[in-house]
Symmetry: D2
Amino acid sequence: MPARLAWNGYGKAAVRLVKVGRAGSRHDLSDLTVDVQLQGEFAATHASGDNSAVLPTDTMKNTVYALGKTTAVDPPESFGLALGRHFLEACPAASRAVVRLEAHRWDRLALGEKPHDHAFRRGTPELRIAEVSAERGQESVSAGIEELALLKTTGSGFEGFLRDQYTTLRETGDRIFATEVSARWRYARHSADWTDAWTSTRDALVETFAGAHSRSVQETLYAMGAAALAACPDIAEIRLVLPNQHHLLADLSPFGLPNDNEVFVATREPYGKIEGVVIRE
Amino acid sequence: MPARLAWNGYGKAAVRLVKVGRAGSRHDLSDLTVDVQLQGEFAATHASGDNSAVLPTDTMKNTVYALGKTTAVDPPESFGLALGRHFLEACPAASRAVVRLEAHRWDRLALGEKPHDHAFRRGTPELRIAEVSAERGQESVSAGIEELALLKTTGSGFEGFLRDQYTTLRETGDRIFATEVSARWRYARHSADWTDAWTSTRDALVETFAGAHSRSVQETLYAMGAAALAACPDIAEIRLVLPNQHHLLADLSPFGLPNDNEVFVATREPYGKIEGVVIRE
Amino acid sequence: MPARLAWNGYGKAAVRLVKVGRAGSRHDLSDLTVDVQLQGEFAATHASGDNSAVLPTDTMKNTVYALGKTTAVDPPESFGLALGRHFLEACPAASRAVVRLEAHRWDRLALGEKPHDHAFRRGTPELRIAEVSAERGQESVSAGIEELALLKTTGSGFEGFLRDQYTTLRETGDRIFATEVSARWRYARHSADWTDAWTSTRDALVETFAGAHSRSVQETLYAMGAAALAACPDIAEIRLVLPNQHHLLADLSPFGLPNDNEVFVATREPYGKIEGVVIRE
Amino acid sequence: MPARLAWNGYGKAAVRLVKVGRAGSRHDLSDLTVDVQLQGEFAATHASGDNSAVLPTDTMKNTVYALGKTTAVDPPESFGLALGRHFLEACPAASRAVVRLEAHRWDRLALGEKPHDHAFRRGTPELRIAEVSAERGQESVSAGIEELALLKTTGSGFEGFLRDQYTTLRETGDRIFATEVSARWRYARHSADWTDAWTSTRDALVETFAGAHSRSVQETLYAMGAAALAACPDIAEIRLVLPNQHHLLADLSPFGLPNDNEVFVATREPYGKIEGVVIRE
């Protein structure tokens, strides 16, 4: 047959694990969505239905829960490394195990000022991401953010751009800048404290968005990436995707009303999409 | 023709209004989704395409932005009343104007300890709802909550239930209780401070969920409703919908592992759905 | 306590049942989402956590699968009636059982012209809905449609409407009319052939949308409702919700290009929402 | 600064274009979602807010509508090429323009047997994808499919797999195989008829899914890929992602009921995810 399998991967996605830490009366809560993928020498199952090298994806699911019991699931980077190492051992045909973890946010409730022992409220949609790629003899860890929505009511403009026959956009020195940060950074080395590294990076992104005047989404993207590299020395590179979620100034002129950047139409479609990769020089 | 129009309503849904309060250097941010509906004597447009009584839904959209400029949009109950009154005036055929507002949460960012003047992060998915029904000579205001997700890791059980030949559920004195509160309450009178009334009610719901031991979702629902009525004297009745978002204890026994309410499988389908209306005696 | 439970209902939602008909070599496929709700005398569980009258929602789920095996699941109205009757028997405290079924569409694949015995492709998003409300001594059956998206490229206008100071909409005798039909009709009596009744009603709705010139969404809604009543004598009333999914003429005038109803911007937000109930005179 | 921009891209996403073909009384309908991205020498806007090389994403949106008027939008591959070439001309700093188009399905309605001139019903969720990457002097065209849901009620098993201490899955020679095909193939050369090429490839995928006995999702994936390459000589490689959407046999044994592959629980989470790239030898 003139066809050849050039690459393959398989696994279980969307394994939903909730773990309650019950050491003492104050409970902790971890809420993870885990994806596992194995890559390697699985040509036989593709070519001839010989499944003898294939660890079932159902087993991957079971393993997430079993190791979720026997090992710590927080920080997610460590849990991902434990899973990745396990799967390389459990499945000899696999040359690489990729584990992706999303951590969902829950905030501890407080009654009055007192933190509650065991009641929580779901937090913001912001996801903490950890991605582990484990090969025999080599491990790579990335981390990131999804669905972190930020908005500035001023401190942003867009002027002096290229024009052609289809350009109708007006220049503006003052507009709303709304985005939903998607970030992924690769660690050059294992971090001594994964949560610390994540938090420093995340805070650098947020503070740069808030603090730096923006002459384009691109300028802000680069500044955010550079700030992340400066904040966390373990990071080798960071990829950012910043949608430009347009807030259009409502046209109130037919009604004889002024609108000095006060009333906006929030839109979902279409949106700008600005991407970039910033690396350490 | 043997058919008759028994009821009708029309309007514009999903009008997305963002308003920036720019009084002074510290900006405020309101983010609303507004639905408008008119009911009344619109039979002619249905029967014969005579649109002379019909205020276009496009005009409703324009009006949301125009009144969004000329009046306050916060609290949403007041803005809804202003819109409702306006539409009854603008459209003589309308006997009722229903305005529904969803307020999306944004939290002000802080750099260090210092609150930022104009940068925000999207808050939790929890929505504050206001619903106004304005008739000529009568106004009714309701408020509510959607997508407020709460979870307790203990303090909840379900025992002593009815069994039949299809019952396999085991009794338990300790389980996770996870829900997403949907609440709607009707005010008996206009409140002196809508935000105060909303906050007191919402806090009573959350505190009761956290504080009261639960022998069924039903027991918690009733306790939450009663607490809301107790907390806010302006409320005449409250409707609650509490899905029971099952967290199944992971079965680790095939692997020789204990699981003392520690590792759970979070599920989305199917889910329990418990509803009730609690009124003031 | 000055609070009283005025109404309550509980049940299991989103039970996902797939049944394969294996009589002969040609398989049939039914794909249902089932919601069950019981209403009645369940005050004790609300007030004091006495669950002895409460049939667990887990049992409802089991019952859907068990009766799914022992009875026919197609047509969904009949399956709903079987479930409703069962739950009234199984749970003495219940005075009403409400069962809602969504049927998901699968089309049999064909290889060449030959229908395949056991391979299917998911159909359009259109859902067939059946709703049964079973009380002791009384049964009510409704049926309906969700997510049936229809579009006409012409044969629709909107002129002669009311104007006020916020009206900027231009009159048009020719526009795109796009909607997503939501319909629910109540049967006056049990139908001899539920699928026949559903199909006649649905076809009447679609043909009227396509065939009748539209001077407003309202006119089309009423015509569709009247046609449904005419097509199916078993129906007592029908409720229709027709969103007006605006397709805005793209403004190409800055580029010196004509646009004679040829190029449109499809939008999601905001949208018109037209509702009506048509009954038999 | 020790940071460097290693890669960048920007553009407009989710441009929603509907075009009505009005040549004659029978109208045609094209419904596209278009994403445009430019890559190239845009470092100045990132580094110093100099936007003079940046064609605004708003202009990209305008261009989609303007060229949507002046050129054919069907087949989407041709429209994508026209857009890609245009943007390379309009923006000298761009070295590559990537255009991605999704074509949404609409089926012409028929009244009785007669096809309607201008009324349509939304088709299945299946999307036809076209992706063009235009560089100065080089063009690459890919096509694909998203959300094509297929299901076989038999003709699928999974046996003889690797087992470890966490394996509980039972072997089966007969199960439901449900998936949602995601496919992307790259053309080695411009096709003489893009729609013909797309249709042949798509049909080969569907027929192989239906016709070939499956001993693993992997075996089916490879067979589908090989069949696509055989069906369309213009294709150089194809990437397939086949989720395994598990349908679990309902356990009716507690109720003394048999279940010979008749009643299933459809699940969404977790799911298997099988991926592979098949190339021409």
